[in-house]
Symmetry: C2
Subunit: 165 residues, 2 copies
Amino acid sequence: MTTIQTIATNQTMVKMILDRWYAHIKILNDVLNSLNDEQLQKEVSPGRNRATYILGHLIAVHDAMLPLLGFGEKFYPHLEELFITSPDKAIADVPSAAELRTYWNRLNDYLTEEINALQPEEWFTRHNAVSDEDFVKEPHRNKLNIILTRTTHMAYHSGQLRLIK
Amino acid sequence: MTTIQTIATNQTMVKMILDRWYAHIKILNDVLNSLNDEQLQKEVSPGRNRATYILGHLIAVHDAMLPLLGFGEKFYPHLEELFITSPDKAIADVPSAAELRTYWNRLNDYLTEEINALQPEEWFTRHNAVSDEDFVKEPHRNKLNIILTRTTHMAYHSGQLRLIK
């Protein structure tokens, strides 16, 4: 196996995972664009989370990717308490559906820019929640794995948002 | 970059994706084990698919992985018409919740065995729906990508099954 083939394999792997990330970003955007702000206030199933809560949750989780990937500080650190630490309806004063759409689009535009700027070999370096020492033993804890785990997380919740009529 | 590092990287990539596959198989099994057969007959949200349809759909999609990955013929080819080609409730005579559980477990046990037997380098060879010629141009259409795309698909539907009470 030559060095050239090694680089090709890294590029292939990055493409595989980024293709999934962007495919699921599109699925989510298509669902969001098919719903108005009033529909986003509905529960995805009786007694379950409202669509706005799920959207807020996805924004908070994706926002936390910024420091993990070395893309800078979080845009919306206050959303962690509203949409990760607290369940839906526990806090009355949350951003509106229209505000959440703006947050989502702004964050997603920035993430896209930063993701596209990263070189294939950089994706296999450690993310910022793992030490150099642990990374030697656990090389799967790399930046690309952050994209992968957040893609399956996003898919899980997109399936729920899709149920809103 | 040395040959040893190349092999380590392939192993790392395989681990990243198989970890997600098994994590989402566990999430799905945990949801299935938390529901009885009667609950599996419920719709995940009013007017949406029943849980049995989603389970049948996942069995049919995972069954189609067998020929794609060179693991042999499908176990349940008749499920394609019931759970992929047709929407829920279009066909009255479908397997019971108990039968679907048996199908799921049998298929999943077999898939686990075959997946574990594949070597890291084999995961980066073409799957059976792509020609040798196309694979040279599109090396991301490999066996590992089948696991990846079916993992995000499973996550999407697991999020829906999770809504049943």
